[in-house]
Symmetry: C2
Subunit: 590 residues, 2 copies
C-alpha cells in the first residue's frame, strides 16, 4: 500500500523497530532531491516522505521527466552515498527559513503551514532542505535502493493546485530485501488481472459499453458462473435463501431509505419521465426490505429470514477511480440481508462468519484480519447516536463471542451502521477487502419493516448486511492475480484440451471430447494445423490444466497421454482413469 | 385472443366454415345495440363487430353502465330472439345515410370514412344500423349467448378520442359450446398467475419498486433459478456458450445499431451526466456484437459462435400495457446470438429448432404453430430491401428444410429482420408467443462485425437471434397458469413438507428434513401448533407435491406416510424408497 504522502506524510508513523528503515528512506529522499537540484537547477522542491517500500519526492520541473532521466539521477545518488557525507539537523526561526527558501515556493507554503516559531532543517552535502528530522548519520548508511518510476501528483493532493512530477524509489535495508521486493513487483506485474484478463480472453473493457462496465466472454462468464454457483450452493447449505429484485427502483424508495441523502453521489444519474423517476440499484437493502413487507406480516417465529441475491449493482464511481475488475461501476454482489431479532444477532453473525470462512478457505485465502469500521466525526452517517451505539456494541460482542481479533477504524462505517470488514491476503501477501458483516438498526425503522414479537406487539427487526466474496467482478480480479491466471481445475473455464497429433486422429479426439463432456467436464479439441508442440505451448499459455495428446497408440488403447500445464508429464491414462482423477480434483477444489 | 375490433373490425375475416358463427355473432351485436338504445335512448352507437368468442358493441352512454345493467339488457335481447324477427339488408346513398343517422355522430364519421357512394344498412325489429352485411335470416337463429362484462375503449382505439363503454357477449352455436367456454373461463380465472403468484407467495408487484418490475420471494426465485438452470444446461448440451454483458451501455452504441431510431420508444429514459449518456439495455444484440469484436479477429473456421445470456432487459412499456408477469418492464430473456456464415444458416436454424423443441416438450408444451413475421409497409423497419429479401428467403428455406409449417404475417418482423415466432398452446388451449428465431443481415454490418473468409477477405457474418422460452418472467407467468400453480416436482419450490403429528415427533421430522436436503431435495417441516389435517390442507393449498406425515410408527420404522397434493395416499414408505422415487420423478421432469 502506498501511503498518499501529499496528504498524510506528516502523519506517517512507524513503530520503533521500523525507525532505522524510516531514517534510511527519509535520507534517501533528500539525496534524490539533491540529485534533481543538480540535474535541473530550476527545479522547485515540494515534499519527499518515506513510504512503505521506499520513498518519493515531488518536484515542479522545467521540462517533463522521462524514464531515461532516472539512470543519471540514480548514478548521482550513488555518488553521494559513496561519499558518505554527514546529515546535519538544525532548527531556525521561520523568518530565516523564509529567506533560505526564497526561491522555493512550496517550501515557503510549508513553512507558513507549520505551527510554532521555528522550523527544522537538514543539510547534507550540497543540499539544504526543510525537514522534520530523523535521518541516518551519514549517507553511506541509506541501504539498498533503486529509482522505480515517475508519476504525476497534485501539490497537496488538490487537483486545483499545480501538477508535480513524483519520482518513486524503492529502498530496503539489504540488497537481498530489495531484490525480493523487485521480484514481488515482477510477480504482481505478471499476474496483473487486466493483462491476464485480455490474454486469457476472459473480459473486456470498452468505450462502446462504457468505463467501469466490463463484459465477459464465454470463458470469463464460465468462471463467473462457477464462482456464483459455489457461493450459492454454500449459502443454501448454511440456510440462506435466494431472492430476485431486479436492477432498478423508483427514486422515492431511496429518499425514504436514506440512500438518496447519504449515498446519492455514488448513484447513476436518474431516469426521468415526468413524475416517474427511476434509479439503478446501488444497493439491495431497500428492495429486500420491500420484499419482506410484501410477503406479509411476519411473526418472531419466522425469523431469522435470510435473503441472498446475486444482483448486479451499479455505482457511478468517478472515472478516475475505475480500472480493471477491482474498481468497477457494475458489481454483482453476493449480498444478503438477514432480518432477525436483537437476540439472534450473535448466532446469525456466527453463521455468516462460518460461511465466509468456508468460502475463503476454498479459494486458499486463509489469512485475513478483521477491521471494525466505525462511524466517524465527519462523513455521511445517519444521525441517531443511540442506534449507532447499540449496533456497535452488538457487533463488538458478536466479534468477541467468536474470538475474532480486530482493530477499529473510525469513519469507515456504512452510512447506516458499523461493519466488520475482512481483509484477506492473496498469494503475494497483498491485502484485499472482500467479505463484510454489517449491523443495521437504522434502515428497517425508516422503511417501516416490522415483525410481531412474542408479546404480540410490533417490533423492528435488526438487519444484518453480509457479503461473502464482495462482488463477482472484484473477486474475480483478485482471483486472477491470486492464481496468476492458472485457475484450479474446478474453476478453469476450459479444463482440458485434446490435441490430436495428426489429422487422422481428429475422430478419436472428438470421441475423447464427447466422453469428457458427458462426464460434465469442460474440454475442447485443438484441430488447428499447427504442430503438436505449438499446440501444447498455446494451451500452457492459456493455462489449461490438462493437455491430452492423442495419436495412434492412444486411439488404439482408448487412452490419452496426459500433460499438465506445469509441464509435468503423467504419461498414458485410460479415459476412465482420467475422468476419475479430474472428478476427484474438482470435488476437492484442489 | 381478442381481436382489437376498434382498429381491425373492418379487416376481420373468417373462413367459409366459420361464416355461420360470424353471422350469428354479428346479428347478436345488432340485437345488443337495440336493447341498449331502448334502455338508454340517448345512447350513441359506435361499432359492434363479432370476435373470436362472441361479439361486443361500443356505446357513448349518458351514465356509467354497471354489471347490474347486464341482466336487463340480456333479458331484452332474449325477447328479441324469441320474437324471431327478420334481418333486412339494404344499401343507400351516403347523403341519405347521413340523414338517417343525423343524431349518431360515430355513425356519421364512419359514413364519411367509407369509400364509394353508398353504404350498407341493416334493419331488424326496432333498430336500423349501419352495416357491412352478413347476418342470420331471423333473430331466432343467433345461437347461445350471454353478456359477459363491461370495459372501457377509446373510439377508434385513439386515446385522444372519446372513451366509450364496451359490452362484451359470448356466443356459440350451441348451449353446450357456450357452457364449455364458460367453464374454460372459470378455469383460466382459477389459474390466473397474478392471483396464484400472490397466494403461493412467488412474486410481488409494488408501487415502491415500480410498475412492471416484479420482485421474487425465495420460492419464486427458486422456480426462476430452476427454469434458467434447465435452459442453460440444455443450451450447453446443444453447443451454445454463455456470456455476460451487464445491463446498460452508452447511448451512442444504440444510435449506431439502429435501436435508437427504431426502438427508442421502448427504452427507459436516458441516464444523463453531461456528455455521458447511458441507456438500460432493451436488447442484448449490440452488446454481444461488441463482445464479438473485442474478442479479436475471427476466422471463418471459428464460426459459428453462439453467445447466450440470461440478461435482464428493460423495456419501458406503456403503463396501460403492463400487468402480472406476462407484460413486464423487466424481462430476463434466454437470449442468444449466433454469428455464422450464410452457408451455416440452415444448420444453425435446425440446431435452434431442436433446442426449442426439447425445452418446450419438457414443459408439456408440445402443441405449437409457427408464424413467419415479415416486414410490413408501415412500422419501423430498417430500409434495406435487398437484405430483407435475402434474410426472408433464408428463413423460409430453413423452415422448409425442417418441414415446419408456417403462416406469414406482414408487419410483425423485428426492425432488423424477419422472425419465426413459436405460438405454443398451454393446458387450456390458449396460445402464447414464446420462442423465436430471427435472421438478421442488417445489424452486424452497421456495427462493423466481421470475419475473415476462406478467401482471405473480410465478410459480414449473419446474425441469428434466438430465444427459447422468451423471458423467465413471462414464461413463469405462462407456466403458473399452464400448471395451475401445481409445478411438477422438478420445478416445485418446496418439494415436500414434513408434518409431525405431535410435538414429540419434531426431532424425527428434522431428521427426515436433513436426509431430504442431503439428497438435494427441497423440503420444509411444518412445526406449527396446528392440527395435522389443517397442515395437510395448507400444504395442498400451497400445491406442495409431497406431504410426509410422521408419527410414532414412522419414527420407529424410519419411514414416512406419504400423501400427494392430489390427495392420493401412498401409505408408508422408507426414506430410501421415498428419495429414490422423488429423484426419479425429478430426473424424468414428470
Amino acid at each position: 500500500m502506498v501511503v498518499d504522502a501529499a496528504l498524510t506524510a506528516d502523519e506517517f508513523s512507524v513503530g520503533p523497530e521500523e525507525d532505522r528503515l524510516y531514517r534510511m528512506r527519509h535520507s534517501a529522499a533528500h539525496i534524490l532531491a539533491q540529485a534533481m537540484a543538480e540535474l535541473m537547477p530550476e527545479a522547485k522542491l515540494a515534499i519527499g516522505p518515506p513510504i512503505e517500500t521506499g520513498f518519493y519526492y515531488d518536484f515542479l520541473l522545467p521540462r517533463p521527466l522521462t524514464p531515461d532521466d532516472l539512470p543519471a539521477l540514480e548514478a548521482r545518488m550513488r555518488e553521494v552515498v559513496a561519499a558518505d557525507v554527514p546529515f546535519a539537523e538544525s532548527r531556525v526561526p521561520k523568518d530565516e527559513a523564509r529567506r533560505l527558501f526564497a526561491d522555493q515556493p512550496f517550501k515557503l507554503e510549508l513553512i507558513d503551514s507549520f505551527d510554532g516559531e521555528e522550523v527544522g532543517l537538514c543539510r547534507h552535502d550540497a543540499l539544504l532542505d526543510l525537514c522534520r528530522g530523523r535521518h541516518v548519520e551519514r549517507s553511506g548508511e541509506v541501504g539498498a535502493f533503486k529509482l522505480m518510476n515517475i508519476a504525476g501528483a497534485y501539490w497537496r493532493g488538490d487537483e486545483h493546485r499545480p501538477q508535480l512530477t513524483r519520482v518513486y524509489g524503492a529502498l530496503f535495508a539489504t540488497p537481498e530485501e530489495l531484490a525480493a521486493y523487485e521480484h514481488h513487483l515482477e510477480e504482481a506485474r505478471a499476474r496483473d488481472h487486466r493483462r491476464l484478463g485480455r490474454e486469457l480472453g476472459l473480459f473486456y473493457l470498452t468505450d462502446e459499453i462504457g468505463p467501469g462496465l466490463p463484459i465477459f466472454s464465454p470463458k470469463g462468464e464460465m468462471v463467473r458462473h462457477l464462482m456464483e454457483t459455489f457461493v450459492r450452493d454454500t449459502q443454501t447449505k448454511y440456510g440462506f435463501q435466494h431472492v430476485w429484485t431486479g436492477h432498478l427502483v423508483r427514486e422515492a424508495l431511496y429518499r425514504k431509505s436514506g440512500h438518496y441523502d447519504n449515498y446519492g453521489d455514488v448513484m447513476f444519474p436518474a431516469m426521468v419521465d415526468g413524475d416517474n423517476v427511476f434509479r439503478l440499484k446501488p444497493m439491495n437493502c431497500p428492495s429486500h426490505m420491500t420484499l419482506y413487507k410484501e410477503m406479509g406480516v411476519r411473526s418472531y417465529r419466522e425469523l431469522p429470514l435470510r435473503f441472498s441475491e446475486f444482483a448486479t449493482l451499479y455505482r457511478y464511481e468517478a472515472s478516475g477511480a475505475i480500472g480493471g475488475l477491482t474498481r468497477v461501476r457494475s458489481l454483482t454482489q453476493d449480498d444478503c440481508h438477514v432480518f432477525c431479532t436483537p437476540e439472534q444477532i450473535e448466532s446469525e453473525f456466527t453463521r455468516c462468519l462460518e460461511l465466509i470462512r468456508e468460502v475463503l478457505t476454498a479459494y486458499g485465502l486463509t489469512e485475513y484480519r478483521v477491521q471494525l469500521s466505525l462511524k466517524g466525526e465527519e462523513g455521511k452517517f445517519v444521525d441517531d447516536p443511540w442506534k449507532w451505539e447499540t449496533a456497535t456494541q452488538a457487533l463488538r460482542s458478536a466479534l468477541n463471542a467468536n474470538g475474532v481479533a480486530y482493530e477499529s477504524v473510525a469513519g469507515e462505517a456504512a452510512f447506516y451502521g458499523p461493519k466488520a470488514d475482512f481483509m484477506a491476503k492473496d498469494a503475494l501477501g497483498r491485502e484485499w477487502q472482500l467479505s463484510t458483516i454489517q449491523i443495521d438498526f437504522i434502515q428497517p425503522a425508516r422503511l417501516g419493516v416490522e415483525y410481531i414479537g412474542e408479546d404480540g406487539h410490533a417490533h423492528t427487526p435488526v438487519l444484518i448486511h453480509r457479503a461473502v466474496t464482495g462482488s463477482t467482478e472484484r473477486f474475480l480480479g483478485v482471483l486472477i492475480e491470486h492464481y496468476g491466471g492458472a485457475f484450479p481445475l474446478w474453476l478453469a473455464p476450459v479444463q482440458a484440451i485434446v490435441i490430436p497429433i495428426a489429422d487422422r486422429h481428429n475422430n478419436y479426439a472428438e470421441q475423447v471430447l464427447r466422453r469428457l463432456n458427458e462426464a460434465g467436464l469442460r474440454a475442447e479439441v485443438d484441430q488447428r494445423t499447427e504442430r503438436m508442440n505449438a499446440k501444447i505451448r498455446d494451451a500452457q499459455l492459456q493455462k489449461v490444466p490438462y493437455m491430452l495428446v492423442v495419436g495412434d497408440r492412444e486411439a488404439e488403447a482408448e487412452a490419452v497421454a496426459v500433460r499438465l500445464r506445469s509441464n509435468e508429464n503423467l504419461g498414458a491414462m485410460s479415459l476412465a482413469e482420467l475422468v476419475a482423477r479430474m472428478h476427484d480434483e474438482v470435488a476437492r477444489r484442489a
